[in-house]
Symmetry: C3
Subunit: 180 residues, 3 copies
């Protein structure tokens, strides 16, 4: 399994299920790093859906803000981390008033020395009309920058459309750290 | 021609023209199953555009709600059905208060025993920002689920971007039911 | 380099950087044809970003409305033009009350006889939910039509996702006009 995989997709594109499948096919299960906080009923229902779909072979940890530190703490050679999701983490750090450029750099920097593989799930949000609010535009721009930065560090990038994977980057062949 | 084809695309991506081309290249023409109702001037103009583009080799039937039944009724081995479009049908059944999960299952179930080929046109609507209203989010989620379900049943899935086809699934080779 | 290249992408997808890379890899630099006008701080900042990223090998010209004429004036065999961007030009001509269909035809017609290569950057804006306003829908529809028309005239069309190119059309092999 490559060190860094990015699974991109739209809403309800099947990106999460596909990312879980990648981890399970390779290592049976992994560490599910949830960036969501169940702050409203809609989000709580989504989290329940996600938990129900994953089996017992998964361990769940939650980290809404300190993503780079959480990755460093939980990465191990035989247990991939699945980050669900990068875009929500961005939303969390923007809401918390963090310096987004600095957080992005810390994340990408940390990926170089991670002790095990990680799969990021992220939303592609830039393919609609220009948002009508400055905050909407700022979020969309930062989401695009973050996806580009992680894609640049990834050995494998997959766009999921209607549940189907479209590989847009694959340098994975010689970088496996988990036995296939 | 494969039993089930899904042609996905954004607004004005050329998906409808491409789907019509698929049917015409294979069978000369087919049955155009319109899910639209001309409830306002904008929609009426779109329907006129679509009719004008199609030639005489097409027969048009309209069915805003009972899609599974209409497919069963009109499917024949030598005359592909083109469904224009799946996303509008979803909008219709949501507006009518139908049970969306049940309707989706009925549709997908029916595809297994259809007497002839069908080409679905559907909108990809999940690649922009999160909609600001609960209804917008619910519609986007259901559209994603429906596209995934039909893509899972399809032998061929094509994403159309700027009029150009990008094949994302193709199991069509051995499943032809219309003479090429 | 092919006569006409279209680089499509979402917001902050890396499409501009990729288009600049295409021109620089082929000809060292080129003519940057900016369709933007710095009417507000947000746009001025974007223009500064773009200028800062490009090196000295670039010459910049600005033309918000008369795109076909500007292309004819600046096209030369050894210096590709990079149009940044097509979607903003569309926005400009719609705001100016121009006949969009006629302007689109003039642009596409002019591409046939251009004296040198051109690379268009354009936004894909049709993959989100239906916009809530008639103007939003009209703009989205016209953007889709324009992208289809230019893609139809292009020898090469590339969709950029998270900074990564996905080639969706390539007829470039035998049409080079700039020495590689």
């Amino acid at each position: 399994m490559p060190q860094v995989t990015l699974v991109l997709g739209g809403a309800r594109s099947g990106k999460s299920g596909y990312a879980e499948h990648l981890v399970e096919a390779c290592a049976g299960g992994g560490t599910y790093l949830a960036t969501a906080e169940a702050r409203d009923d809609e989000m709580a229902a989504r989290i329940r859906d996600h938990r129900a779909r994953r089996g017992r072979a998964w361990r769940t940890v939650e980290e809404p803000l300190e993503l780079a530190a959480a990755l460093a703490r939980h990465a191990t050679r035989d247990r991939p981390i699945l980050v669900e999701c990068l875009t929500l983490w961005l939303s969390n750090i923007m809401a918390a008033g963090c310096d987004v450029a600095r957080e992005r750099e810390r994340l990408v920097e940390g990926l170089r020395t991670l002790a095990g593989p990680v799969v990021f799930v992220a939303n592609e949000v830039g393919l609609g009309l220009v948002p009508s609010t400055p905050l909407g535009r700022a979020f969309r721009d930062e989401a695009g920058r973050l996806n580009q930065a992680v894609a640049g560090s990834a050995q494998r990038v997959i766009l999921v459309v209607a549940g189907l994977p479209l590989t847009i980057k694959d340098e994975a062949e010689n970088s496996g750290t988990v036995e296939q």
